[in-house]
């Protein structure tokens, strides 16, 4: 399943990064950072089309030899990035989409919290968000 999940704010700074602790987190930070370029490219590519015409799910941003990076952008330019291990039986597109959907829902719940200032890093105390993201890590979504 996913080895790294990242939520990046509109200004391209991370709100939340969590990776499977077995591997070095720094590597995933770097990967997510580089994937931002691809995300920017994709969302700017749409150009004239407004956000509502642009699909939120960006698909595979780029693959490396070890893993694949998928992207998702919300209408408020908040980006979700999921890094998936390539060794997994290649996940179907729908599964990735559902992972993003779950992530988006959890993120929306966090946003609904009036005590959360948009732009603040999502604390690990936001238990539900963390729980849901962890479930993306460890649960195969069907």
């Amino acid at each position: 399943m996913a080895v790294c999940i990242a939520v990046i704010a509109k200004e391209n700074y991370p709100l939340y990064i969590r990776s499977v602790p077995t591997q070095g987190e720094l590597k995933f930070h770097y990967t997510v950072h580089t994937s931002l370029d691809v995300v920017e490219e994709k969302i700017s590519g749409v150009g004239k089309a407004l956000a509502d015409q642009r699909e939120l799910y960006l698909g595979l941003l780029y693959p490396t030899e070890d893993y694949k990076v998928y992207g998702y952008v919300t209408n408020s330019k908040v980006k979700f990035v999921i890094v998936v291990d390539s060794s997994n039986a290649s996940l179907r597109d729908n599964e990735i989409r559902s992972m993003f959907r779950k992530l988006h829902n959890s993120f929306t719940d966090v946003m609904c919290n009036p005590f959360y200032n948009p732009g603040d890093p999502i604390q690990s105390k936001s238990v539900f968000f963390c729980a849901h993201t962890l479930s993306i890590f460890y649960v195969t979504i069907h």
Binding site: G59, D109, C112, N113, P114, F115, Y116, K125, S126
Partner: protein, 790 residues
Amino acid sequence: MESLTLSDVEQKYYSELFLSCDVDNTKKVASNGKVLDLFRAAQLSNEVVLQITELCGATRLGHFGRSQFYIALKLIALAQSGMPLRVETLNSVRDLPLPRFVMGKNEQEPRHAVMFADAENQGHYFPRPPLRVQAKKVSAHEMIQPCVPTADPQPDTTSPVVSPHQSPPTSPHAWRKHKRQASGGNVDRQPSVPGVVWPSFREAQPGPVTGDGMWSAHSPPPVQETWVSFTDTPPSSTLPMHPPSAQPESTTVRTGMSAMITNEIQRQTSGYDDPWKITDEQRQYYINQFKTIQPDLTGLIPGSAAKEFFTKSKLPILELSHIWELSDFDKDGALTLDEFCAAFHLVVARKNGYDLPEKLPESLMPKLIDLDDSAGVPEPATEVSFSASPVEVTPNKSPSMPSLNQNWPELNQNNEQWETFSERSSSSQTLTQFDSNIAPADPDTAIVHPVPIRMTPSKIHMQEMELKRTGSDHTHPTSPLMANPPELSDETKLAASIKFPGTSVGDGYSSSDSFTSDQEPISSAVNRQRSHSGTSPEGLKVVAPPPPPPRPHASHSRSSSLDMNRNFAAVPAGSQQPGVVAFPPAVPPRPLPTQTSVPHGHRSVEGDGLPAHTSTSPHQMPEQPNFADFSQFQAFAVDQPEDDEENPSDSGQAERCPEAAGTMRTTKNDVQAEERNATTVNSAKVSTPLAPPPKPVRRRLKSEDELRPDVEDLPQKSNVIATVLATQPSIPRSIGKDKKAIQASIRRNKETNTVLARLNSELQQQLKDLLEERISLEVQLEQLRPFSHL
């Protein structure tokens, strides 16, 4: 002896005890009498007491000074913990429990002890006997009621100061059974404080606050003050000295809260192990607070207002955020009454030192369903009357706590009912959950029907047959065709007519699905579906993964009539829409062909004329039992080129097959058998009769445009068949007329054959059109599909 180090708690405790003993308020000397009473209450032997008094130097002084008193207390603690009484050990002993005093008459000391004990020794202090508690309760009530404000002199505020500290930990502790009595101490402590109980978040100024005032609603500014006071009283661990200004409010708040809670606990004699349960008083208080923000109790508090309100509690934003996450059950960014109560309750608990749970406790969960059926109050009536009832009830509270208690349960129940009502109305999430729960049921029920496995091999077989037959890439359209005959033959006994319309809807899903929309048992339909899915990898089938197929099944199974209607509508419409199979009239014929095909098979096995059959028939016959239609189709297809020769006979028998009437069927069979026996030509027809039957069966697979002609043709054919059959029986009887009859039958068969040939060509054309459509749709789909493979 003078060098005595006391912890803060001990300091406070001891000073409290000293003050209690120091009735004369001399601040220095404690009377021996009181002290001795106290010491005796420590349940130590007199010898020990004497020893202690000696050690602390009281005997030397003749009285207990403060230091002596403290030393004595510490020695008592030592003695109670079983340690030898040594002066040297006084300072060396760490974590010495506070001395315990089981008091008899003296109310103050136990109270103090209780308070202190609760602060520090959550398990150490043994509560006083219940009797004491009762007395305390009464006294507490009495004290609460008049709310006599005792203007404590500033020095004495040390004790009031203490009590608020104690009360926060006490109140949660009071929730536990064994702490009930301890809380009584707090209750007693209350009178010494400007008696404003916690529910009355009103101005904490000393003043006669009546019981009415306690329970009535309060204005926001006092709320702020009390919230401010909360900051001055951090939860349990430390016992700082409050600035005097904050003391009254804090004490009032604290003691009020604790008093309320303890009162509630005392009233509720049953052991509520659930520390998260909201008491009735608390709930009423929450509701009042809710009203200050949102007058409509069924309405929502927006997130921003709730944020402001709870920020006043001065809890860290992180914790408030956590509380919000726990309490906003439907995640809508607003708080209903239930959610607000839960949030408020969590804030209170947190202020008292309870850690926030990871998950919302059940007792705090907004009641989505009206559980309080015991209240027996109709909800609308409750709701209507409730707004008035609290106001009415609160003024009545003053007379007695018991009455208050009696009223609260009702109100609480009403509240809960009301809250549940409001919760229900406001929690869209629950509705959606219900809906989502309902939805999956249908596919499940539909999935139950299919018996798919059986079809798979046949499907593959059919595909192969089809490939051989057509040699084209369109495996998919025809494979269902292949699938259908076997299915049909297997399932003919089922209510094919019903299934047929049902399946048609599903077939509407795709062009190829339309083929399968023929009258078919649901199982066969499912099998069809599976054949579709199976071929999708192979063929160009663009059918989505499993979910879509079951849906058509569901509709099939459910609304066969609907499908029938659609079929009927499609027939006159004559549109080229795939999937709508409009052959209700063809339904009857369909079983017949299959059934007849079976008898055909049987007959073929039995009949003598079988060997004389054409080459196609033998290998078709064995297939008939399982793949009657399929083989018929095959035979039909194979025989197409040959049909020109055998058309008359073939068409004759073919037309016989689709005969709707079962009786006709049997007669046909007989006739056909006789015919077969009579003529070898007719034997060839046996194979061909199989072909027309597949047509109705194959209708599932074909588009409706093909089927429509079938529908139209079938009646015609059936008419022809009827006529043919009518004539046929006469044939064998009159031998003399055999030749003529045969010729006549030949003529008729030729006619039917031409009709069937025409029909066949039309169907073939329709098939080609549909295939083209399918290809175009697939191309479009490919274009529209996002770059998933990237």
